[in-house]
Symmetry: C2
Subunit: 137 residues, 2 copies
């Protein structure tokens, strides 16, 4: 359940850097390196499953329990007007990393969501945002 | 846990028409009346919760278990290239009905997802699509 070539598997193993806000035996939550907006978080299964078709029922539950907790923490800390929760399956649906992940994207009145168009931002900045969100988890 | 003015509460009570593909004590799945693409399905909690902040943990699990089953049924019947799974919280995130619902949107290579721009389509057509998806659930 580990795929050498998968960046999320490498993040799970701490072989690649990430700004983590939550971790348990099954689930990891960390900042998207190319945030659509500040606070854009990814919640993933630690084990490598490509998408929702493959993930066991119990793991889906665990992922979305954490999604809920992160949503509440985002609301308290980043204070967006709304949150989009998005999980893409397949390249046709703009899935870019083929390891299941749920996006939590803070949204603001009058602003469109420009998925997949953002630039990566420096690690120090991501770490600061992560710290803020983590404080409310 | 029932809101008179809520169209989804009325659908749950069968006071408003819908093309249902799945129902149990807690969860209902039916066709979006304004599908972004054929097979666009909504999975909702039967009880009225506005969004993810309010939904109990157990209900979130139940909703996403059904989301997974519907995703697999869509893959088998509608055969899209991908599926976007989207849950919007707040008007700023394009939430239109303030009763929690998860969208499953079939996606195709090279086609953008035009959220909230589609027209409603006739009930008979929705019923036919529903029947097809239901056969694989």
């Amino acid at each position: 359940m580990y795929k050498e070539s998968c960046i999320f598997c490498r993040i799970v193993r701490k072989e690649a850097p990430s700004s983590i806000i939550y971790e348990d035996d099954d689930v990891l939550a960390f900042m998207d390196i190319r945030p659509v907006s500040e606070g854009h978080t990814l919640v993933i299964s630690k084990r490598h499953y490509e998408n929702i078709y493959d993930v066991p029922r119990t793991i889906i539950c665990k992922i979305y329990e954490i999604v809920k907790r992160v949503a509440i923490a985002l609301r308290e800390t980043i204070k967006p007007d709304g949150i989009s929760i998005v999980q893409q399956n397949g390249a046709a649906a703009n899935q870019d990393i083929f390891h299941i992940h749920v996006h939590l994207i803070p949204r603001y009145d009058g602003q469109k969501m420009r998925f997949g168009e953002a630039n990566s931002i420096p690690r120090e900045k991501l770490d600061l945002v992560a710290k803020k969100i983590k404080s409310a988890l």
